[in-house]
Symmetry: C2
Subunit: 219 residues, 2 copies
């Protein structure tokens, strides 16, 4: 029974890695669509979100089946419950990619953000892509160093999120209302994407260290 | 054992109702703070978010304990897993209230939104408050009619969300960039608040009807 359970847990882990890979591909395409105004890439991201949702549901069903069949307790139970939460966060990360791609599509053939913000968003996008790639490796290897790096990258994304607001609310901002709306939403989506990754990294860290602290598990 | 399990499920339900009540109080205060620029109400909402987070963690711990002790299967298992998901959505609704309150506090003593948008936001805020109250009753009574009403109210919130963008992007918009940013974020928070309620309503409906459709459970 124990061996079957370990195999099933390995299957859950494989599926989480697969889901994270789909999300990494999605944010990579979404940020390229956003910066280069490539509408076909945006369409690909939007079309693939449904597949990410389906894979999330399938993963959740597998986790529920394991709960029913294996009746895990203690740490094993927490691993399965964490998998359910991690999949929910990955699904939301896919949604954030999709929102970024939608902004690119709405404004096509124009670019979404005015010149003065392009380098800031390029940096945010690059960080989100790196975070997603690190998340794939973190889920695969459970290397605590990666969790730490994801947290540091998220701090950088948060700082850039504030830079966007400083620029938009600064005296030199020449954008129209539409640019202001787009910059506000795009910045929020990039920032939330990274937040979800940190939330996942925390859960992986608890599982690795065995140091489960309910106080820290709210996010 | 079965009787103990039913008692424990009733306890989970009570705690979900309690959490929903906290969220209803939070959004009520947040929208009043937002419209009347009452900074003390905004502070109350921001301070209470930590308590909502704590109650969410406590509820999740209870659900995990039930999974470990009672080893539920089939529908009983889905009820407990759904409780975990519902609590996560309620926690996010509390976050949305807090974000709305934070906007009110940042702009104090000014009002957050310019006159031309006040009636739209007043309506959105009122709908969010009603949705939260209906959610309390839905979780208490499992009355399917309430789930339907929440969905209809959410459609109205979505329509108002579009009205905000139409106004902000319209030719008569006289707002500064700061007004545009605030309106964009505030509208997004109001809209997400209602989305989470719909997601909860769907889960309650599945539980009541027993008609579990994994395809529909992604959100």
């Amino acid at each position: 029974m124990r061996e079957v359970f370990q195999q099933e847990l390995a299957e859950v882990q494989d599926r989480l890695v697969e889901l994270a890979e789909l999300v990494a591909e999605s944010i990579d395409k979404a940020t390229r669509a956003f910066h280069q105004s490539e509408v076909s890439l945006a369409e690909e991201v939007i079309a693939s979100d449904n597949f990410i949702d389906q894979r999330t549901v399938a993963l959740d069903e597998l986790a529920i089946t394991i709960l029913a069949r294996q009746q895990p307790v203690a740490r094993d139970l927490r691993i399965v419950v964490s998998a359910l939460r991690i999949s929910a966060s990955l699904e939301r990360m896919g949604d954030m990619s999709t929102h970024i791609a939608q902004l690119a599509r709405y404004r096509f053939p124009d670019k979404v953000v005015p010149k003065s913000l392009r380098s800031t968003f390029a940096e945010m996008g690059q960080l989100d892509v790196e975070i997603a790639r690190k998340l794939v490796e973190l889920l695969r290897t459970e290397d605590a160093q990666l969790a730490e790096e994801i947290r540091n990258d998220d701090d950088k994304v948060d700082a850039l999120h504030l830079v966007v607001f400083d620029k938009v609310l600064g005296e030199t901002w020449k954008g129209e209302a539409v640019d202001t709306v787009d910059a506000t939403l795009a910045s929020r989506y990039h920032e939330r994407f990274a937040d979800h990754a940190v939330s996942i990294a925390k859960k992986v860290q608890y599982l690795v260290t065995g140091d489960w602290d309910p106080e820290k598990s709210a996010n």
